[in-house]
């Protein structure tokens, strides 16, 4: 079974600063996907960024980027130029690849990091 650990229950930064949220995971799978989801107070689950384990290049989406270290099983999220609208719970999640039955197993989530952007 997979486990996902987010060691920072809460973080607070000033607007426009850069913040990094940490995530580590444990798996015996060699191919898988990693995700960061954002959950604002509206409780929507919004996909922020996705990384495929076989890709060495770190994924980026505008102000959001990841630092994926496969050997260390680490998948941190960096938010640049943070904005008030980034205030939310952030969940790191793991999914096995399709050929391992990943779709059926769905996502395994970490416990989340509550990120607060201060004006």
């Amino acid at each position: 079974a997979q486990t996902v650990t987010q060691s920072q229950p809460e973080m607070s930064v000033q607007e426009a600063e850069t913040v990094t949220l940490s995530c580590t995971y444990d798996t015996s799978e060699s191919n898988y996907y990693l995700f960061w989801y954002k959950q604002p107070p509206s409780r929507q689950m919004i996909l922020v960024i996705r990384q495929e384990a076989y890709k060495q290049q770190n994924a980026t989406e505008n102000r959001f980027s990841v630092n994926f270290q496969k050997a260390a099983k680490s998948f941190s999220l960096k938010i640049s130029d943070s904005q008030l609208g980034d205030t939310a719970m952030y969940f790191c999640a793991f999914m096995k690849h399709a050929y391992s039955g990943g779709g059926a197993d769905g996502l395994t989530f970490g416990k989340g990091t509550h990120l607060i952007i201060q004006p």
Partner: protein, 115 residues
């Protein structure tokens, strides 16, 4: 166009009642899920359905039963509600190919309060 919609958004009921939460997706996905988010915000999978077949069923009480009339719908029926069932329930869907998984798309959640 709402991709994954679930109703109701809020549900308040008394212990012992039976209730259902409906979920529909218009993405053409072949797998649907139910997740439970507890008061500490932890998300845990309850069920997944692929082509109307139950794939996994985590350690969920049998008072919870998923029902899928077709590929686009996965409803959650809960019998004999208990106080501990109070949580936010999320429906989600994804598409699984031979060599890929699409990310999960989530509904907006149903906040269930049992009094």
């Amino acid at each position: 166009d709402t991709a994954v919609s679930q109703t109701p958004k809020y549900l308040v009921t008394q212990m012992g009642n039976d209730k259902s939460i409906k979920c529909e997706q218009n993405l053409g996905h072949d797998t649907m899920y139910w997740y439970k988010q507890d008061s500490k915000k932890f998300l845990k999978i309850m069920f997944s359905y692929n082509n109307k077949e139950l794939i996994i069923n985590e350690t969920v009480p049998n008072r919870f039963s998923p029902k899928s009339p077709d590929k686009a719908h996965l409803n959650l029926h809960i019998n004999s509600l208990e106080l501990g069932d109070s949580a936010v329930y999320f429906c989600a869907s994804s598409q699984e190919g031979s060599s890929y998984n699409s990310p999960l798309h989530f509904g907006n959640g149903t906040r269930l309060t049992v009094t």
